[in-house]
């Protein structure tokens, strides 16, 4: 990574990034993220708190966005949200097995837009997003991170790598690569 590949990327103002309060969903439902460090005291006071623990709060696209927007770009001191590498309209949640009525499995699709079409760091960025989501979301989620069509010269190759469970698992055991990923995650709460 000797040379910065895109020295002049378009940057969005953090204040302009989509947030929960701007969305139509009422703000009161939202507890600062699915793994809020401080549990709501009401949960402990409530008589049926055990049931509350079992009932998982539904996770929506905004929540996915919040998990990944603050990941740092590996070559800029900026976040993936600021660089519009990830954006709310490019996140989709759908049932994994639509024909199985009681299946809890859900698929999260995140489309990534690299800042330049030949960015060799696209795989690392995609891996960072996948790792962030796999470590944050409950295991009933299947994470599908891919390059948005037409935004990268070798998008299919990158997608195949990002979709390969075995390669991703091996990458997580690769010290050098994990150092880069960990650094990208430092800016996530």
């Amino acid at each position: 990574m000797a040379e910065v590949q895109n020295s002049n990327p378009t940057i969005l103002n953090v204040a302009d990034l989509p947030t929960r309060t701007r969305s139509t969903i009422k703000a009161g439902d939202y507890h600062s993220g699915i793994f809020a460090a401080v549990p709501n005291p009401a949960d402990f006071l409530s008589s049926d708190s055990e049931d509350d623990d079992l009932l998982e709060e539904p996770i929506d696209e905004q929540e996915i966005y919040d998990l990944i927007k603050s990941i740092s770009d590996p070559e800029h001191p900026l976040s993936l949200g600021e660089l519009a590498v990830v954006s709310l309209p490019d996140i989709f949640i759908k049932p994994t097995l639509p024909n199985v009525s009681d299946s809890p499995l859900q698929t999260v699709i995140v489309l990534i837009t690299p800042t330049i079409t030949h960015c060799s760091l696209a795989t690392v960025i995609g891996l960072g997003v996948r790792v962030r989501l796999e470590q944050s979301l409950p295991p009933r989620f299947r994470v599908d991170v891919r390059i948005k069509e037409g935004t990268h010269s070798t998008g299919d190759e990158v997608n195949k790598q990002l979709g390969d469970k075995e390669r991703v698992a091996a990458a997580l055991e690769n010290g050098a690569l994990m150092q880069v990923i960990t650094k990208m995650m430092e800016t996530c709460q």
Binding site: L105, P139, E166, A170
Partner: protein, 432 residues
């Protein structure tokens, strides 16, 4: 949805706390070896479903794959492949299996899980680390012993397949016989033919390749390009099974005709892929392959001038009914019943059954051209059993058939052993 004929017999306990990749049933003893991301291999009993011992200390990263060497007398030999790019070979005297049988039947020994530390420690010492096979440049993904046990095939992300010969010299020496580098991507799976020295491989380049030795050189004899995604796993048909006949008429005659047909083409191969398909492949018998290849050469060519190349033609024999919504990670072809099991990221187990379609039910028979000799028999594959969410919400990485060994076993009964992302390994029985 098909009513499930597959029911859970037991979990193997205690499970690994990390992802498990594969469980290899021993060829003769009622034990299995489970490969875990925690860098260990766990050996469980199929008699009482308990952990017998844990093989540790050999690998620096996830253990991805393992295979038991066949035809070893008085000893069990296990090869393991790891993301640390090495292949380990482990040995243990078989008194182990007998001691375990005794423990399983001893009701006084009903220990609580985790209370067997002292015994466990003694047993662990009996796994002897024999040799580390060093050669691959990156993660080893699959290992397979040839039917004789003489050859070990290994493959890795470095796109290569290595064939090692076990010199059996009492000194744990292995010799590199061949390195094949034709695959254009990670080689995900290697699997030996059940009786011949023919190796099948598959992987990230979406191809399946077959390899044989010709005049001391190992070379590719076929390359199948039909899957539209990574081919994750391969398994071979056994040589003893025969499908049942769909409507029962003429069953014996049809079955013997089917066996003749298979004797010509040999055992078939099944593959599963990221493209959500399971496909069965059949080698064209040498003669018909050559006839097909040579335009007008129906008859009359003396066998002496026929091409003698080792190339083989493999064609798709069947596309199994669509049943998986996500990548299919493993298939297992039972060598006792002929049933095929598939598992994958959608958490389903599917069992498929093959039946011979009786030719008399073909209403278009009058219109088809008369065929010389016997018509080629057709078979159909149907879903025999489906289990959704077999390991809860977790992805299933592997399935294998094994001989049932607990007290409820009837003669020659089989169980299916499935291995999942949460470390759980489950044993299932079929209601026939």
């Amino acid at each position: 949805m098909t009513e499930s004929k597959l029911s859970l017999l037991s979990d193997l306990t205690p499970p690994s706390l990390e992802r498990t990749w594969l469980t290899a049933p021993h060829p003769t003893l009622p034990i299995v070896a489970t490969c875990s991301s925690d860098k260990t291999v766990r050996v469980y009993s199929l008699t009482n479903f308990k952990l017998l011992s844990t093989i540790t200390g050999g690998h620096k990263r996830s253990v991805r794959t393992a295979a038991w060497k066949p035809h070893v007398q008085g000893e069990s030999v296990l090869a393991t492949g790891s993301f640390d790019a090495t292949v380990g070979v482990w040995r243990r005297w078989d008194s182990y299996g007998r001691a375990e049988d005794g423990a399983g039947k001893d009701s006084a020994n009903a220990n609580v899980d985790g209370e067997e530390d002292v015994d466990g420690a003694d047993e662990e010492e009996e796994w002897r680390f024999a040799v580390l096979l060093d050669g691959h440049d990156s993660e080893v993904k699959s290992v397979s012993w040839s039917p004789s046990g003489m050859l070990l095939a290994t493959c890795a992300r470095d796109k290569s397949i290595w064939i090692w010969e076990d010199l059996d010299d009492g000194d744990n020496n292995f010799e590199t016989v061949a390195v094949m580098q034709e695959h254009a991507g990670d080689v995900k799976c290697v699997s030996w033919h059940p009786v011949e020295e023919c190796l099948a491989s598959a992987g990230y380049d979406d191809t399946i390749r077959l390899w044989r030795e010709d005049l001391d050189d190992w070379g590719q004899v076929a390359c199948i390009k039909k899957h539209e995604g990574t081919v994750w796993f391969l398994d071979w048909e056994g040589t003893e099974t025969t499908p049942t006949v769909a409507d029962g008429a003429n069953a014996t005659a049809l079955q013997s005709q089917w066996r003749e047909q298979r004797a010509l083409s040999g055992p078939r191969l099944v593959s599963c892929s990221d493209d959500r398909t399971v496909r069965v492949w059949r080698r064209l018998p040498k003669e018909s392959a050559q006839l097909g290849a040579m335009s007008s050469a129906a008859t009359g060519i003396p066998s002496i001038i026929r091409p003698t190349g080792t190339d083989e033609t493999w064609e798709e024999d069947a596309l199994l009914p669509h049943a998986h919504e996500l990548a299919i990670y493993a298939v297992a072809w039972s060598r006792r019943t002929g049933l095929i099991a598939s598992v994958g990221a959608d958490g389903r187990i599917i069992i498929y059954q093959e039946r011979i379609v009786s030719p008399s039910v073909d209403v278009d028979a009058m219109e088809t051209e008369p065929v010389e000799g016997k018509a080629s028999l057709q078979t159909e594959w149907t879903q025999f059993a489906v289990v959704n969410g077999a390991h809860g919400i977790y992805e299933i990485n592997h399935a294998a058939w094994a001989k049932r060994a607990d007290r409820g076993a009837v003669e020659e009964e089989e169980v299916l052993v499935t291995t999942a992302d949460d470390g759980s390994v489950k044993v299932w029985t079929l209601q026939q």
